[in-house]
């Protein structure tokens, strides 16, 4: 049981915030389950809805990691805009609303070993390099908007040029999408 093991760990280590760990574990479990559903479900619309749960879970994890601004952006951009786009995409391509066979490739089983090997590798590397690192105690409450102010500072000073670059990318993408998708 993830939650219990984390609890036991946190009791032995006074620095670790118990509630945070439990929250993380629960959300993570939900996210992994939802993500598995995204890639395995036979219904395209369901997949999109499972994706909403994953994205929402990611936003929740951001809050746990004291990144409120990113979390809010995540909700607005992903769950608000990107998901709507996906649903439009599904509808406009006239996917079946119900279950659908043949959503997978013929050789889809190749993906399993690739993913497992990749995960084993990543897990090994992560534990090898960061196994003992603890995260800073994240302030979960209070009027902590310093990080947001900090982000604003960085984006508009230090990272101004990339920021402009990204705005142009977005503009180009918007125009490109219109050009590609319009009927003429």
């Amino acid at each position: 049981m993830t939650a219990f093991s984390l609890l036991a760990q946190s009791v032995s280590d006074g620095n670790v915030n118990v509630a945070q760990n439990i929250g993380f574990g629960l959300i993570a479990a939900v996210m992994i389950f939802a993500a598995l559903c995204v890639v395995t479900t036979k219904n395209v619309v369901h997949a999109a809805l499972w994706l909403v749960i994953v994205l929402g879970g990611v936003a929740a994890q951001y809050i746990l990691a004291a990144a409120e601004f990113v979390a809010v952006s995540q909700v607005m951009v992903y769950i608000g805009a990107v998901m709507v786009l996906f649903l439009f995409g599904i509808m406009l391509t006239r996917a079946q609303i119900g279950a659908e066979d043949g959503l997978n490739n013929t050789g889809w089983q190749i993906g399993i070993p690739v993913a497992v090997v990749l995960f084993g590798l990543l897990a090994f590397v992560v534990l090898d390099a960061f196994g003992d690192d603890t995260l800073a105690e994240a302030p979960l409450t209070g009027d902590n908007n310093e990080a947001t102010v900090d982000i604003a500072d960085r984006v508009l000073f230090q990272y101004l040029a990339p920021f402009f670059g990204m705005t142009f990318v977005l503009l180009a993408a918007a125009i490109g999408a219109i050009v590609l998708a319009r009927k003429d």
Binding site: G107, I110, V114, V117, L121, F124, V125
Partner: protein
């Protein structure tokens, strides 16, 4: 020896003049680069298709380089003045008097004017970009700017109406910029940059009419052949960098093994010889790059094929400027080659041998060419051989001088060829089929051609005489008697093939197009295509006369087949038949005349025989020697920004020296100290040579150029050279009249009757079978299997991890069967082709076109690669 005694006195700092143009020489390269960008972006919208940007930028570049040349002359003169002053000062203070000053002229080392910015940095290493002005670079910069401008003017008319007119000028301008960047490079990295830009432009321009398969093949051939050599450039630069790193870090802090001056100083410091084989490997690698770029034997095969490009391109890139890049590289870091190949002690160098082989091999090939441009191309190869021969035997000055004069007369010859094909032979370059008797129709072109041919063959007093014979003379003087005879034999061949070309083009009975006969289908690829261009032009003209806008009918030029269906074609036939051969327009003849004038006069830039034995002028007429050749004088290392490790050398210098010279050695801060000076010829009392390049410079001083010796021409040698040239004219003239004119029966058909003659003819006609060697054997047996094998390993190993283990083993079996069993045992020529197609079929299934499968491969490969990395790092 006229030369003064050598002095090993170390030169201190001198306050030399400089000037705006010398310090901002980079403008000369930047302006064409901007011109290129303007042509690219706005060229199509301009009334003249962007050529105005090209012309304007080249003109501006010419102004900058001319200004720089003028200021360089002033700088050298000021060096002489200050040197004399310094010398006087020393005498006043009663210090040691350099022997050189007794009677000899004061010739101090003239520091180059370096303007450099940091281009990029990498782990403490800085790469500069900027300009490096010394005699050699200023001379060549001016030459490139001048010839580029003339060629662009010529092109205005020559490529008018071409479908890629704008692109043509863009590439031409970019080429000039690249060449200028290379010539003004103060470090090897910038030099490589310019070198590669030129390679790219060469590719674009040779393949200008790429619709024709022959042209695109030629462009690829040129690109890849040169690329083979370019590997040497990278390797050589790296080797020299690492070999010199320690010495430079210790003695010239702040400079690196990429800086030209640092390399020069290192090569002559004695450390380079101590470094063992490194300098030999580095110099050999660099020279391989020069073999590729300058079309030396055996990588010269690309140059004649490069004539597939438009004539202005052949004229600018493949005769007068780009191909001398290799010669320039050798002369720029000459000390490296000097040390590596032991030129000082008369070592038989790689450079000299290659140069000598090239002279004769290419000149022989020039005999059997029917294409006028190919004759000139082989002639270029042969002349580049002379330059390399000179450099390889210590004749630096005549080699550089020959670069200078050769540019004018060879450019002129090519432009004449262009003019002939443009107006005289109906866009054909075939001398046997479409030329003859053109001297009456094209008097200006004929005159320029004759002048340039005389210059090329080395007839007095045309330019080639002063430079080429100087090379030959110096080669002999430096102790390479056999190579001198090779050079003289080359001169004989040169005179002969030029006589043949001249006869076939301008004398005899008009043939083919020159006689006004229009024939469509019986000449080669290039001709065919030129014709289609011409058709488009003529239709343009008709449109203009009809009052319609002069719109390029480039589409008509695209395919000759299409064009033959064109209605206007038949009208055009008659039209063209009427006007026949005629003289070209002003835009074509004016550059030709200017160049012909220079072909006549440019030799007087350094007419050594006038000084001796003719004795009609003083040494001051040897302007190239005075202003271009770097002085072989040891310079105090602190003056050039180095750190002196000697404790006792301060005694030799004034007290003010140690104060002043510690300051960074910028041009303005140099103070008048030290002493100086000597003439370049170095011979000690005991007859053993000393000075820079022969003996290690004194502690605390560096040399930048070896003390090359200069031959003194004699009447005998001059007469010999001229007689050989005249014999060449006479022999070839007699042969031409007999063979082409009177069709002498003893000669005509000789190749059919006589096996030896036929064998020789075929051997030459097939260009020594080098192309066949390269394409049929080296490429097919080495490159193809290698690349196939590499591809096979790449794909099958990856694939095998996913799902194709079984098929892999089968393919391996097939591969081994085909290679070991079939090819080795049977020696089958076609074996490799079969292998290629077998493996291709075997691999086809991996190229499924399915995105997911590609994704699986990518991620799988990334995972496997990462696992390998992790394992390597963990253990």
């Amino acid at each position: 020896m006229l030369a003064a005694e050598v002095s090993n006195e170390v030169q201190g700092a001198l306050e030399l003049t400089s000037g705006f143009f010398l310090e901002n020489l980079w403008l000369a390269a930047l302006i064409p680069a901007i011109g290129f960008a303007l042509i690219l972006f706005f060229g199509k919208k301009m009334p003249n298709g962007g050529s105005e940007f090209g012309l304007a930028s080249m003109a501006a570049s010419l102004v900058v380089t001319s200004g720089a040349a003028w200021q360089w002359l002033a700088r050298v003169d000021s060096g002489k003045e200050k040197g004399e002053e310094a010398f006087g000062l020393l005498q006043t203070f009663g210090r040691s008097v350099p022997r050189a000053a007794e009677g000899g002229e004061v010739k101090p080392y003239i520091e180059p004017v370096i303007t450099e910015w940091v281009w990029w940095q990498n782990s403490g290493l800085e790469f500069g970009i900027g300009s490096f002005a010394d005699g050699l670079s200023v001379l060549l910069l001016w030459l490139v700017a001048f010839i580029s401008l003339l060629v662009q003017i010529f092109s205005l008319d020559y490529v008018r109406g071409d479908r890629r007119y704008t692109q043509f000028f863009a590439a031409l301008t970019l080429f000039s910029s690249g060449m200028l960047v290379m010539v003004m490079a103060g470090n090897m990295v910038q030099l490589i940059l310019g070198w590669e830009i030129m390679g790219l432009c060469s590719f674009m321009l040779i393949g200008h009419w790429w619709e024709d398969k022959y042209n695109s093949h030629s462009a690829l051939k040129a690109f890849f052949t040169v690329r083979v050599g370019d590997i040497g450039l990278l390797v050589g630069t790296a080797v020299i960098y690492f070999a010199s790193a320690d010495w430079i870090a210790e003695n010239l802090p702040g400079q690196s093994g990429f800086d030209i001056t640092a390399i020069q100083a290192w090569a002559l410091s004695g450390d380079s010889s101590a470094s063992g084989a490194a300098i030999i490997v580095g110099a050999s690698a660099l020279f391989i790059a020069c073999i590729g770029k300058s079309g030396q034997f055996p990588l010269h095969t690309w140059l004649p094929d490069a004539m597939a490009g438009p004539t202005p391109v052949s004229s600018l890139l493949h005769s007068s400027t780009m191909v001398v890049a290799g010669v320039f590289l050798v002369s720029r870091i000459y000390p490296v080659f000097w040390e590596a190949f032991n030129i000082a002690n008369g070592g038989l160098s790689f450079i000299a041998v290659i140069g000598a082989i090239t002279i004769v091999a290419a000149a022989l090939l020039a005999f059997v060419q029917d294409d006028i441009k190919k004759v000139l191309a082989y002639s270029t190869v042969s002349q580049l051989g002379y330059m390399m021969l000179g450099l390889g035997t210590g004749a630096w000055l005549p080699a550089v001088f020959h670069v200078f004069t050769h540019a004018f007369f060879k450019c002129c010859l090519f432009l004449c060829a262009g003019s002939i094909s443009h107006s005289g032979s109906h866009h054909s370059f075939d001398m046997k089929k479409d030329m003859g008797g053109l001297r009456k129709h094209m008097p200006v072109t004929f005159g320029a051609w004759i002048v340039s041919s005389l210059a090329l063959t080395g007839m007095i007093p045309f330019a080639g005489f002063w430079s080429k014979d100087e090379i030959v003379d110096n080669v002999g003087n430096n102790g390479y008697t056999f190579l001198m005879w090779v050079g003289l034999f080359g001169a004989l061949l040169t005179a002969m093939y030029m006589t043949r070309a001249t006869y076939l083009t301008f004398f005899g009975e008009p043939r083919g197009a020159a006689a006004g006969i229009h024939h469509d289908d019986d000449h080669g690829f290039a001709t065919e295509f030129h014709e289609t261009i011409l058709h488009a032009e003529d239709i343009d003209r008709e449109l203009v006369t009809a009052g319609a806008p002069a719109k390029s009918l480039s589409a008509a030029a695209a395919h000759s087949e299409d064009h033959h269906d064109d209605d206007g074609h038949d009208d055009h036939h008659g039209d063209h038949g009427d006007h026949g051969p005629h003289e070209s327009g002003k835009l074509i003849t004016v550059p030709i005349v200017i160049l012909a004038f220079l072909a006549l006069t440019s030799g007087f830039a350094n007419p050594t025989p006038l000084v001796h034995p003719f004795g009609v002028a003083g040494e001051s007429v040897e302007r190239i020697k005075t202003y271009v050749e770097p002085r072989a004088v040891p310079v105090d290392i602190e003056v050039v920004g180095g750190v002196s490790h000697a404790d006792d050398h301060g005694d030799d210098h004034g007290d003010d020296h140690s104060e002043e010279a510690l300051a960074p050695a910028s041009v303005d801060q140099l103070s008048l100290v030290g002493n100086g000076v000597l003439a370049a010829d170095a011979e000690g009392e005991d007859g053993k040579k000393e000075g820079c390049g022969f003996t290690t410079p004194a502690e605390g001083s560096v040399c930048f150029f070896p003390a090359v010796s200069h031959a003194v021409p004699t009447y005998g040698k001059i007469a010999l050279a001229l007689i050989i040239v005249l014999v060449g004219y006479a022999l070839a003239g007699a042969f031409c009249v007999a063979y082409y004119g009177r069709k002498d029966e003893r000669l005509v058909g000789l190749t059919e009757r006589n096996a030896v003659a036929r064998g020789g003819y075929l051997f030459l006609k097939n260009k020594y079978y080098l192309d066949i060697l390269y394409e049929r054997f080296i490429v097919r047996f080495v490159a193809h299997p290698l690349s196939k094998a590499a591809y096979w390993v790449n794909q099958n190993v990856l694939d095998g991890t996913v799902n194709k283990v079984g098929e892999t083993s089968k393919n391996t079996g097939t591969w081994i069967y085909n290679n070991i069993d079939q090819k080795v045992v049977d020696g089958a020529v076609n074996g490799s082709g079969t292998v290629a197609s077998e493996t291709g079929h075997g691999l086809q299934s991996t190229q499924s076109g399915k995105v997911n499968q590609y994704g699986a491969l990518i991620f799988g490969a990334a995972a496997v690669g990462a696992i390998v990395l992790v394992i390597l790092n963990v253990n």
